[in-house]
Symmetry: C2
Subunit: 217 residues, 2 copies
DNA sequence: GTCTATAATGAGATAGAC
DNA sequence: GTCTATCTCATTATAGAC
């Protein structure tokens, strides 16, 4: 077999692992399944990685970067002014069509989050994963603000938190039920509701629908 | 060792399994871990169940019934008229305090859903689980409608779908980040947004904020 | 019915030849 | 560097004594 640089081998194994996770789930992603998918010997695995945990860490990092590259282009597509609601609805549709295109991959993302949450020493990986989601959502919301010429009436990070929660709920619902109409209803609701957190840029601090804070009981 | 009826033994093993899933995750829920938790021998397990899969099926069914008993009482607590927004906000707070009280259990629910989705022949268990969630949400929304004397402006099942998506997103966000303030912001948003799907009962068909359907592209 | 003992399988990891 | 062969361990499941 050809002599392959360690970096390439690591990358090949990580990508093979991602395919296995998507197709069969984290539980079935054994070192043997990974090397079979990559067409390598078991020993090559342990030459490239000290162990399975090291690969899983790199897998999660890789997968988050990929998510970034997949979603980032979708946000800056339109530049002409549109309503805030339509801008958000279009972004959600774009995201959701990605979920429909590769449901297994989306399932894998949730599984990897939970794997990280359950594995001692990897909790921060789950948080970093969501930190990236929030950043991506904030960028998308910033773009929507420019397109619609409206400003957010509360900190954009708060809106991003809400948007990610909505996309998580949307994705789980569709993965479980595969109900396109229900997913559409959730997206319609989300676009309407989130758009209401913005106000005309010119009016400045005018809050048409201020978000009341409920004091903790 | 005492002679225990098969039904009791099955129930004891299921409850032990639930504790193991909550504490250590589905992946660590081996037959050995279960019988150790239940204080039984390994052979007793295979006397009560034909195998691990049979127990997992019963575990998921049990856990969904429990969720029903835990959440149902919280919905009918208040009877005096309140605003729709406050009724929903209070229900969310009640749900969320349950998540805070036992985060591991909530993590377990997500893991069990994904386990069912990944296991051939168990996909319907995940759907049944969510079917119950939707029914529970619809009951809560019905109660909120009576309390606030407002009617839903779209089918209650659609509102229930949205509400479950929101609670899923809320729960995941908090499980990952443990950020109480962020969770509060999501709940405030959810209560405002969902309440806007209702209108005064007396005005009947008046839709203050009709939910536009976006036609599929 | 319940136990101990033990198959049978598959996992992660390593030794050592080439 | 890469391979085959093997070690060690944990798993599910069963056999057979009591």
């Amino acid at each position: 077999m050809p002599r392959i640089p360690a970096d390439e081998r690591r990358a090949a194994l990580v990508h093979a692992a991602l395919r296995v996770v998507a197709e069969r789930g984290v539980a079935a992603t054994t070192t043997r399944a990974i090397v079979a998918e990559a067409g390598m010997s078991l020993a090559s695995f342990h030459y490239a990685f000290t162990g399975r945990d090291e690969l899983m860490v790199e897998l999660i990092n890789t997968v988050v970067e990929q998510e970034e590259r997949t979603l980032a282009p979708a946000m800056t597509s339109t530049t002409r002014p549109v309503s805030m609601r339509d801008a958000i609805r279009a972004g959600l549709a774009e995201f959701f069509s990605g979920v429909q295109r590769d449901p297994q991959r989306e399932k894998a993302m949730f599984e990897l989050t939970q794997y990280a949450m359950r594995t001692p020493g990897m909790e921060m990986l789950a948080r970093r994963q969501y930190r990236r989601y929030y950043d991506l959502a904030a960028s998308a919301l910033e773009a929507a603000s420019e397109m619609s010429e409206q400003d957010w009436t509360l900190p954009i990070d708060d809106v991003a938190t809400v948007l990610v929660a909505l996309t998580d709920g949307l994705t789980i619902a569709w993965l479980v039920n595969r109900d396109d109409a229900a997913a559409g209803a959730i997206m319609d609701f989300a676009a309407d509701a989130v758009a209401r957190l913005a106000a005309d840029g010119r009016t400045g601090s005018l809050h048409p629908v201020p978000l009341e804070r409920t004091s903790p009981s």
